[in-house]
Amino acid sequence: MIREIGVDEITRQIRDMCIQANHYLSEDMVCAMKEATEKEQDPLGKKILGQLEENLKIAGEEMIPICQDTGMAVIFMEIGQDVHFTGGDLGQAVEEGVRRGYTEGYLRKSVVGDPLVRENTKDNTPAVLHTSIVPGDQVAITVAPKGFGSENMSRIVMLKPAQGVEGVKQVIWDTVQEAGPNACPPLVVGVGIGGTFEKAALLAKQALTRPVGEKAKDAHIRSLEEEMLEKVNRSGIGPAGLGGHVTALAVNINTYATHIAGLPVAVNLCCHVNRHVKRVI
């Protein structure tokens, strides 16, 4: 059976999700921030984490965006193969949702049209849209506005297979070290290992949308996540990079098959304002 979904419904959902994501963190992030504040022993670090919790409260209650960088809208759509979109162009409907969300929601317009000419598009479009076709007749939409303080400190490295897991650890460590205060710690560290050049980057981005606290399925990846989280938290960078024990809330690693000759590793850093809203329609 084919299920019809009007594209205006997509516009409406995306509008609301852009606004929601920028004012309320998801439950997993709220819990992680609370735990971090309890765990932090450095007095300044604890004070800053307390301010960040207070910031979240003010944002939700007074409808002021959690951060003034309300991001570039990254959108994932998993589209059931039995869905038929009606009433217009899906891509345009997505853009319209972002446009309305950012203008009607008092969100900052942070997108320039041409990366070299750099003129602001004034409505935060275009979004970065990733679609995939999956079984079923539902559509899962994830809206993840991404700030560039942390995006700018991210990287991708094509390791040699011989560098193995130690090479991967080094890349993660170096990325966090170099980012230091710039990426607004406490961080969520999204890592993609394997695939091709672009697949690794996408895996890393998707890893950021995985709820904090949800571990990788493979045991060896899970232990790598735990090891790196512990290591990163011993770096001394701390909240806002001003020293302390909580530098990251999570290290989320996603993997994929790769070529016999390669070992791509991407590290996508996200600040504590790790925004992701998911809805299934």
């Binding site: 300044l44 800053i48 301010q51 960040l52 207070e54 910031n55 979240l56 003010i58 944002a59 007074e62 409808m63 002021i64 965006p65 959690i66 951060c67 003034q68 960088d69 309300t70 008092y106 969100l107 900052r108 317009k109 942070s110 750099r118 602001n120 004034k122 700030g147 303080g149 700018n152 230091g180 205060p181 710039n182 607004c184 938290n233 011993r234 770096s235 001394g236 960078i237 701390g238 806002a240 990079g241 001003l242 020293g243 024990h245 600040c271 504590h272 304002v273």
Partner: protein, 182 residues
């Protein structure tokens, strides 16, 4: 140490600030980020005057989200300072009193801070809703066409910041960096 200070800055007050001090700023400060700095640079290159005399003033590297009706400003936290590094030494040499942002600075900026007895503060990144409460007045005074990147004059009350680079060149981030917790 903790201090309450006023802006524009008094050089004698700046002199006693040390990396790691917690400071509340009240008074008048200005916003400027990437595009405004680029334009100021071009203006100076043409031998023209800047819209603000930076002497003893503070630049807050910040581009706010739009204000809702009846509000002074939207979310208003710091942006990454290093993108302004290519422009900062020139403004410091013109008397810029201090900067508020987040993240590391280049050696050239650090040197210019020492030479001019200036100071670099960090505000907490990602606390834009909280910080917006300390802003009592906001007005675009130049480069209106740059939207969020326009130069704004802000009246602030007890804006909380931390001294990262003091006038002697001590850098709090570097002091913490070697500090591996075992």
């Amino acid at each position: 140490m903790e201090y309450r200070i006023t802006a524009p800055l008094d050089k004698n007050v700046v002199k006693k600030l040390k990396a790691g001090d917690y400071v509340w700023i009240s008074g008048t400060i200005y916003t400027a980020r990437d595009a405004a700095h680029k334009r100021m640079q071009e203006t100076l290159d043409k031998g023209q005057e800047l819209p603000v005399d930076w002497k003893d003033n503070i630049i807050y590297y910040m581009g706010p989200s739009p204000a809702r009706e009846g509000r002074v400003i939207g979310s208003a936290g710091p942006t990454t300072s290093s993108r302004m590094d290519p422009y900062a030494p020139r403004l410091l040499d013109m008397g810029l009193g201090g900067m508020i942002g987040k993240g590391k600075r280049s050696p050239a900026v650090s040197e210019a801070i020492v030479q001019n007895g200036s100071v670099y503060f960090a505000a907490v990144g990602g606390a834009g809703a909280l910080l917006s409460r300390q802003i009592k007045k906001a007005e675009v005074i130049a480069y209106d066409d740059l939207g969020t990147e326009a130069i704004r004059r802000l009246e602030v009350e007890d804006l909380p910041v931390i001294v990262v680079i003091d006038p002697e060149g001590n850098d709090l981030y570097k002091m913490n960096a070697g500090n591996i917790i075992s």
